[in-house]
């Protein structure tokens, strides 16, 4: 068993409204920045014990599916690295 760092990036599906993103973008416009399509997601990092990277990735994916992301409105991506 070894410790792995997993980063689960959870983002809203493109068709889902992101009120926080819109408000933030609006203020950036007021500040003079020409940005668009600003969307705010979650960056979740955790440490998990597994026998190899593959297993760690599997575990993190499972956690994302069951808890960290809500599949009706979000998608996620998992990246794993050894610690």
């Amino acid at each position: 068993m070894a410790a792995f760092e997993a980063v689960v990036t959870v983002t809203l599906k493109p068709e889902i409204l992101d009120p926080a993103g819109e408000a933030t973008q609006g203020v950036l416009h007021h500040m003079g920045y020409a940005v668009r399509d600003l969307r705010i997601g979650r960056h979740i990092r955790l440490t998990v014990e597994a026998k190899d990277a593959e297993e760690a990735e599997g575990l993190a994916g499972q956690m994302a599916e069951e808890l960290l992301a809500n599949p009706v409105m979000e998608t996620f991506r998992v990246e794993v690295s050894a610690l």
């Binding site: 009120p19 926080a20 408000a23 933030t24 203020v27 007021h30 500040m31 705010i40």
Partner: protein, 233 residues
């Protein structure tokens, strides 16, 4: 004397604050966040509640509003008295007019409740509010834990910036009574002519609402503005 109450997009305690001030017989003016003209007012309140839905971080988006640049200029220039309530506190730390920041509550929940506070230090901006005095005021916030980086808390106290603390009903500091995980139970901070607190004095203007201590606090602030000469010190 005229007091301006700023309305940011989505502000929701602005009306309560205007009404509280009116009940104290002071002239009031509602200031829209895009206005940069503060010539008509002797003091400004940044009200509580939410602004911009408190998206991103509470107070972060409002801190970039044009009116905040004007407030900053006047604060730096002379002594525009500014009082931040709850969200107003968050806006003031986000804009750097007060030290530190307000983290999400320790328990991760929004918390609405009654709370006893103790005045840490007297201030010329609040004549009559004496050190050790207790106030009972409502709190309502999700991000209210005052935080300054390690090693800087002592400075806050040394410089007289620690203003109000959460205490138990007998006035004692204790960790259990701390509603949000705030450092040193701090509920209010002041710096120069700027003061701010997480609790809502405008909600405690009559006994039938549970307390009149908000009336005491706001009256003291108005009195301080009335005696403007005292700021020089």
């Amino acid at each position: 004397m005229r007091i301006g109450v700023v309305t940011f997009p989505g502000s929701n305690c602005d009306t309560d604050t205007l009404e509280a001030l009116e009940s104290l017989d002071v002239g009031v003016e509602s200031i829209w966040y895009q206005d940069a003209d503060l010539a008509q007012v002797d003091g400004v309140i940044l009200p509580g509640g939410f602004s911009y839905g408190d998206y991103l971080r509470s107070g972060a988006l409002a801190a970039k509003a044009p009116v905040m640049a004007a407030i900053r200029a006047q604060v730096e220039e002379g002594a525009l008295p500014v009082l931040g309530i709850c969200n107003g506190f968050q806006i003031l730390t986000e804009s750097g007019l007060l030290p530190g920041t307000l983290r999400p509550n320790r328990h991760g929940e929004f918390r609405c409740d009654w709370q006893t506070l103790r005045v840490v230090e007297a201030s010329p901006f609040f004549p009559g509010l004496m050190p050790g005095e207790l106030l009972r005021l409502p709190i309502a916030h999700g991000e209210g834990a005052f935080y300054v980086p390690p090693g800087t808390l002592a400075t806050v106290f040394q410089q007289g910036e620690a203003w109000l603390q959460y205490v138990d009903e007998s006035g004692l500091l204790n960790a259990v009574i701390n509603p949000n995980g705030s450092m040193a139970n701090l509920a209010g901070i002041k710096r120069g002519s700027v003061a701010a607190l997480m609790p809502h004095p405008e909600r405690a203007m009559a006994d039938y609402l549970g307390s009149s201590d908000g009336r005491r606090l706001l009256s003291a602030w108005l009195k301080g503005i009335g005696q403007e000469g005292s700021y020089a010190g």
